[in-house]
Symmetry: none
Subunit: 198 residues, 4 copies
DNA sequence: TATGAATGAGCGTTCATTCAT
DNA sequence: GATGAATGAACGCTCATTCAT
């Protein structure tokens, strides 16, 4: 797949990925041509991009993979320290919003790609329903809480979709305070999932 | 602005707008060229599109305007029949999801445009924060409910953003049952906004 | 040739010719499309231009004809009042420069057309060597002066070309004072054509 | 600005510039599209022109620059050999007309560009009044001759404009004998500038 | 006399990609 | 590991003109 695995080559790839992120975040996916990415990376020819990435789809996948890996590492640390399920949910929301606040351009780029990157026939370049679909994982967590008798009876998929889209919405409202936003979401979803008082 | 306001001309424009909606929804905004739209509309040349719309931005605005006007009419009827605020919220969610379920391609096209249509310098062609910003209107409704003592104390903007993004997410999950999804959202947000039991 | 010879029709034609002159003079021949001319004329469709003029070449010829006829009338009055050949030359130079000064946009339009209006194969739309070629007429005047023994021996065509191009150059230097420029040219060419002192 | 400065690249650029000169001279600036220039250059796609020149304006500037540099070299040699001012004027006229006679298409192309190449708002692409404005340089030469007491009292700018336009006119009368034309102009302007006999 | 509607060809430019070192 | 050179297809848009009232 990759041209070469030397240190120099992977540094080049990282440089190009960074330039791609900045370009996509600032100008939108549709305006992020190889020419503009190359200019931002400070390289003279688009040939260097084609050299390190088989085609545009692979560059896009590299961008998404890079960002999502970073996010998973950041969130994993926080979530492994959680005690019960409410703490887990709180850690999920807070660490995710923190990552978004700390890497706004990277997140914007990934959102752009998810929304706009298509093949010629309309197929999305990166599909949301991939192996580690975050909605599916959230739904599983909710379902387990219900089976343990901790949560009320609701549709876990709808709740998962709602939570994920609420978090993603933060990336498009960059002036919101991430801590306050997280606190509100925690309060909102804590009330939404807990058992009704008898 | 417009070439003419005869019946024939506005029929042509509607034909082109419909073709644009279908093309954008199926292939994505980035693949929706004048050539593809013209082919889908069954017209011989892209020139006819340029003839009826000053440029691509105007066609895009016509698409968004058409869909949003239809949606507002549909939802307005339902919401005017609501009694109290909880009924109003229920009507909002249900009528919106119903419209999405009944016009999936139109909604997909608008979402595509909102996400991907940019000018060359990255500025979105249609801004979410326009005069009749739906998030702002929802937030106002929540705030009024709080002032009336009906809702608990929460951030109205965060709640509005969460609700809107939860509804918009339905457009990307077309296999969900709209009634069930609406019922779940109503239950979720009813619990999220009501006063905590003392 | 012409659609109609009613008063209304010829008024329309004059209106279009005026708009064409202004557009060509300001934007250059290459930018003077039917669309831009129609906009400046305050008419809604280019169809009205095609209606009154068979094609663009005929509109261009109408522009040139209109301006040249006016110029010929203006200059003819002055030149018919001249006594000898030196007065005639003086009248020619002065009246021509005066017309240029009083109709700068009309003259600029004609110069634009003469320089830039071509058919697809490169043939000029209006040829300088037409029936009433001004250079040929000037050359004849010089030749007659030589045969009458009033002027020295020089090539009448070269002198005519030089004088004409000197006058035409005034149209591109609109800040020159036309009277002073005329006086200089009269002095220059009087010295250039008179017999050398023995 | 330029893609690259290798020998091969500059040879390509020269090839394209030559084709552009021929196309503009034969068909006129308005008909000199990238497609026609590419065909004349024997290259397969207009893309190669865009590859070597940022846009059409840069190609046009390259054409003008190439021709004017050649002309300046040719004329400079002749003029540096001149003794007094009359010889200098003679050298200027003769070498300029000789260059025109030897490079008729190049000169025609430059004249076409000067007359017809405009931006969308009418601004000329190449302005005559640039740094090394030939009219200004001629006027300076005349003024110095007057201050040295060699020339009569006349407006140096008018004389410069007249001489330049007389020379430029030669490019549009390609059947004139350049030597004879030069001799006539030398005689004409020698008489026009010398002090009147007392 | 006027016009709305429509048209195919062409414009300069940009696209991701491939060739050949 | 890198890059200059080249490419055909497609882009949105404008052109003068024609059709049909």
């Amino acid at each position: 797949m990759r041209v070469n695995d030397t240190v120099a080559a992977s540094a080049r790839r990282a440089q190009i990925v960074t330039a791609a992120i900045d370009t996509i975040a600032e100008l939108g996916y549709g305006n992020a041509s190889f020419a503009r990415i190359a200019k931002r990376a400070g390289i003279s020819s688009t040939r260097l991009i084609s050299y390190h990435f088989d085609d545009k789809a692979e560059l896009v996948r590299a961008v998404v993979g890079t960002v999502l890996t970073e996010a998973a590492e950041h969130m994993g640390k926080r979530m492994r320290a959680a005690g019960d399920r409410v703490e887990l949910l709180t850690a999920y929301i807070e660490s995710n919003l923190q990552f978004i606040a700390e890497h706004p351009t990277a997140i914007r780029a990934v959102i752009e790609i998810a929304a706009a990157a298509r093949t010629e026939d309309g197929t999305p370049l990166v599909r949301p329903g991939d192996a580690d679909d975050p909605v599916a994982r959230l739904a599983t967590m909710f379902r387990e809480g219900q089976q343990a008798g901790e949560f009320r009876d609701f549709d876990p998929v709808v709740m998962a979709v709602t939570l994920r889209s609420a978090i993603d919405a933060a990336a498009n409202a960059p002036d919101l305070d991430p801590h306050a936003y997280a606190a509100e979401l925690v309060a909102l979803f804590t009330r939404a999932i807990r058992k009704d008082p008898s």
